[in-house]
């Protein structure tokens, strides 16, 4: 078969922790390695002016996380398609630094290394890296992709993912649900002899930040999803945070040190905790060991049993969605023929035990499917779907068809804030519903409609998807207009709305404003040319943002000069400020953001006393003060939301480097040479 580059469509798993790209080669899906030989690209993006391109993705960005945590971001998938109010709990657990002055309902923006970026833009950098890896591997341009999303992602989260693809210059042919992709990768539709296999399978997908359960029916190559459920904020991250909370408590209790105030130390601790977690999947115990400021060491032994006790509540949270999905499918656990395990968190033995129990596998002499690498299986499935969509004929994929469902019910807000459901969850997509609306007042020309997603009775408890006005209704007696509104959920699980006034035959204008999300125009302005041009792109943005900041401080300083406190400064101080002001003004013409930042820093320094005086005199000036007060907030934050970590553990060992040998404490950690505590040898 001629592998026409025109038809090349890649499959991308855009994960919370790791991302991968895969493609079909000769009827077999393969993951594509990066320059370092590994197919796994950690979903970490750094904007660090020290790195040569001004940004870094993957392992390189992970390094920045340890050296300059404020310049890197991870787990951004948790923020996709979400609102300020939704992410409140996340902010306690993740060092996301939100941009100042965000309004409720506005698209979230993050501050990373002096840049202001939305979550889809950050994700786009990960996609750019994957695209680059694929182009390098295939030796030609890659412009089309299938991207996977958690099955339980709502409309806003899906739209944000699609936007990320577009920003990265990819034509996203389809968003595929991760568990469905995994089922495809396992090829359970065929018996060993190649004959078609019928049956019911469950896919349990427990990843870095999300949990999904999907139940599918297989029939002659058709993968029909019957029900799906999940939690888009439940994953390995939560396990890490529990372990982190224990360590933070230890360090605070025994040493009186609040490590959460030290972002770099927090990232080092997080790294150690994740390594211990991974180790505990194979070993009976693991050791946490990390060097704190001043050469002090923190170390603790954790046994498998302690670990399992600690995380029991997290993994037990996956049971309810599993039971609900079975109930929705009208099936008993015994009716499930095969169970497929997906996502890194399914490596935890306790998770496997729980799932075996949930489906009564042992009693039936069955085993979980864990043959494929749980980190790769979603990307492999995405590659299969990519080939299906590419339109190329291939014996392997010709008969395959995915019939997926919408995970959440779609409704509209009725009188009294009640939600009237119009498309039930687990409906096969594409799905549509038609509703009729009328006016309540004579001559009324617009009708407001509020669309929601979720299972709750009241609008305030559901996810608001969009509010829109039906406009251009011809003036008529109240109740006479009959406006037909069609709601259509496409094969990506994304909603489309169209409307028509039937009495006049007039097409009512519908301007659907997403409640949380970017407009098409906004996405258009964010599109990144390519990986190679991203550098100049970032440079341009840094210049713009530096200019904005310069203008803000210039204006504040000019205003301050009119204030009475200005007279309290000496003539020398006046001169210094005026000179610094002039150089900021001059630097505005520069195309180098560093030049602008330097002049800002100087002006900032010279105006420090002025700012203090202004604060003292209770003048709520905007000068400097706010910036200084908030500069150190946000990073690290108040980690350890489960502040009362279960403490069934033996006390931690804390050693002062002066009086005990670090080697003793760290001895047990030597099987992991990458433990940062090794640095004590320096």
């Amino acid at each position: 078969m001629a592998e026409n580059t025109q038809h090349r469509v890649v499959g991308i798993d855009l994960g919370t922790t790791n991302s991968l790209v895969a493609i079909m080669q000769g009827g077999v899906p393969v993951v594509i390695p990066g320059e370092d030989g590994s197919p796994i690209v950690p979903s970490v993006v750094a904007f660090d002016q020290e790195t040569h391109a001004g940004f870094a993705v993957g392992n390189a960005a992970r390094e920045v996380l340890l050296t300059a945590p404020g310049n890197a971001v991870y787990s951004v998938k948790r923020l996709m398609g979400r609102d300020l109010a939704d992410v409140e709990p996340e902010l306690k657990l993740f060092p996301f630094k939100l941009a100042d002055g965000l309004q409720p309902g506005e698209v979230l923006k993050l501050n990373i290394g002096g840049l202001t970026l939305t979550p889809p833009e950050v994700s786009a950098y990960v996609l750019l890296q994957l695209k680059k890896n694929a182009e390098r591997f295939l030796g030609g341009p890659v412009t089309k992709a299938v991207i996977t999303v958690p099955a339980y992602f709502n409309d806003a989260q899906r739209q944000a993912t699609k936007d990320a693809g577009r920003i990265a210059g990819l034509d996203v042919l389809r968003l595929v649900n991760e568990p469905t992709a995994a089922a495809l990768a396992y090829g359970l539709d065929k018996n060993a002899d190649g004959s078609a296999r019928e049956g019911i399978i469950a896919v349990y997908d427990f990843g870095g930040g999300t949990f999904d359960i999907s139940i599918l029916k297989l029939h002659e190559g058709i993968f029909e999803v019957i029900s799906t459920g999940g939690d888009t904020h439940l994953g390995g991250d939560d396990i890490d945070n529990l372990l982190l909370a224990v360590a933070i408590d230890d360090i605070r209790g025994d040493l009186g040190v609040d490590i959460t105030q030290d972002p770099a130390a927090m990232q080092a601790l997080r790294k150690v905790v994740i390594e211990a977690k991974i180790e505990l999947s194979a070993a009976d115990s693991a050791r946490l060991a990390v060097e704190l400021q001043g050469g002090r060491l923190y170390a603790r032994e954790i046994t498998r049993a302690q670990f399992e006790g600690l995380i029991a509540s997290v993994i037990e949270r996956t049971a309810a969605p599993v039971r609900q999905a079975l109930k929705d499918a009208d099936l008993s656990p015994e009716q499930i023929d095969e169970v497929v395990m997906v996502g890194g968190s399914t490596r935890v033995p306790a998770v496997r035990t729980l799932v075996s129990q949930l489906f009564g596998l042992e009693a039936r002499g069955k085993k979980l499917h864990t043959e494929l690498n749980p980190d790769e299986v979603v990307a492999l499935g995405a590659a299969v779907q990519a080939q299906i969509l590419s339109g190329t004929e291939h014996a392997v994929t010709n008969d395959l068809l995915l019939l997926d469902v919408t995970p959440l019910s779609l409704g509209i807000e009725a009188l009294g804030g009640v939600v009237a459901k119009i498309i039930q969850r687990n409906s096969t997509i594409p799905a549509s519903a038609t509703e009729h609306f009328t006016t309540g007042v004579d001559g009324q020309t617009t009708v407001a409609i509020h669309v929601l997603q979720g299972e709750r009775e009241l609008a305030k408890d559901c996810r608001s998807l969009a509010r829109f006005d039906l406009k251009g209704i011809p003036p008529m007696v109240a109740g006479l207009p009959r406006i037909e509104v069609k709601f259509l959920i496409d094969a990506n699980g994304i909603l489309h709305v169209s409307a028509r006034e039937q009495r006049s035959g007039q097409q009512a204008q519908v301007e659907v404003k997403p409640t949380y999300g970017l407009t098409d125009e906004q996405v258009e302005t964010m599109i990144l040319d390519s990986f190679d041009n991203a550098e100049s792109d970032i440079e341009a943005r840094l210049v713009i943002e530096a200019r904005n900041e310069a203008n803000t401080i210039l204006e504040a300083t000019r205003k301050a000069r009119q204030q009475p406190v200005w007279q309290q400064l000496t003539a020398d101080e006046h001169d210094a400020i005026n000179a610094a002001l002039t150089s900021v003004e001059a630097s505005l013409k520069s195309e180098d953001h560093k030049v602008i930042r330097n002049t800002i820093a100087q002006l900032d320094q010279h105006t420090r006393r002025l700012a203090e005086l202004m604060m003292d005199s209770a003048v709520s000036g905007a000068l400097g003060g706010k910036k200084m007060a908030t500069a150190d907030e946000g990073l690290g934050g108040e980690i350890g939301a489960p502040t009362t970590a279960p403490h069934a553990f033996a006390p931690a060992q804390i050693s002062e480097s002066e009086d005990s040998s670090p080697a003793d404490v760290l001895q047990a950690a030597e099987n992991d040479p990458e433990t940062p505590a090794e640095s004590t040898e320096d």
């Binding site: 038809h7 042919l173 389809r174 029939h219 002659e220 058709i222 029909e224 779907q385 299906i388 969509l389 590419s390 339109g391 068809l401 995915l402 019939l403 009725a414 009188l415 009294g416 009640v418 939600v419 009237a420 459901k421 409906s427 096969t428 997509i429 594409p430 799905a431 549509s432 519903a433 038609t434 009775e457 037909e484 069609k486 259509l488 959920i489 496409d490 094969a491 489309h496 169209s498 028509r500 097409q507």
Partner: protein, 211 residues
């Protein structure tokens, strides 16, 4: 998005090339659904021009809507009755929501023979809710409610059997073209669905109170 012309859309029965019968073979329905999905699903058109993609989206959403409606016995019956010009307002979700919104009881016509028992049941439900509010259990009321749940659940099963009998009548009369008999069967189905919806709501309320 292109404007779907719903007026010209074929009804769900014709879409599946089925007569307007209420008895149908679920496995045959599924087979047709799979065969049509293979032809119409948007995945088959992802590499085609935009117009074809949009047509596939419209056609496959219609197919899925139709399959969803036809495979569910109650939705199928209600849909057929709507094709026969019956407004299933009393049973509809919309009516329930409107009533909820207005803060009034849904104006559902209680089947007269159920009135007395339903009245008593509502009293017991109220007692149970009060007890729950106080954080207490009320074993006597609980027992009575459990009894009521059993009775109404049995009634639901019985109604389903009766509905199947009416399906047979409907299909026979449709085959024979007996319009008058069809009309009386139609009316009987409307009354039965109304009764079923009433019983189902009672069971739901009892379940909620007992939870």
């Amino acid at each position: 998005m292109s404007q779907a012309n719903t007026l010209a859309a074929p009804d769900y029965f014709s879409l599946f090339e089925l007569p307007r019968h209420l008895n149908l073979d679920p496995s045959a329905l599924e087979k047709t659904f799979y065969a049509k999905s293979r032809r119409l699903h948007p995945d088959r058109f992802a590499a085609r021009p935009l117009a074809e993609q949009e047509a596939a989206l419209a056609a496959s959403s219609q197919l899925n809507d139709a399959y969803r409606t036809l495979k569910d016995p109650i939705a199928r019956t209600e849909y057929l009755l709507s094709l026969e010009g019956v407004q299933m307002d009393e049973q509809s979700r919309a009516a329930t929501d409107a009533a909820k919104a207005a803060g009034t009881a849904k104006k559902q016509v209680a089947p007269p023979d159920l009135l007395e028992e339903a009245f008593e049941l509502n009293m017991q439900l109220e007692e149970m809710r009060m007890a729950k509010k106080m954080g207490e259990d009320d074993p006597a009321t609980r027992t009575e409610l459990e009894g009521a749940r059993e009775r109404f659940t049995a009634m639901l099963h019985e109604l389903e059997d009766k509905l199947h009998a009416l399906w047979n009548d409907w299909d026979t009369h449709t085959e024979a073209g007996e319009e008058a008999a069809k009309t009386s069967t139609r009316d009987a189905m409307v009354a039965l669905l109304n009764r079923r919806s009433y019983a189902r709501n009672l069971v739901r309320d009892v379940n909620e109170a007992l939870d």
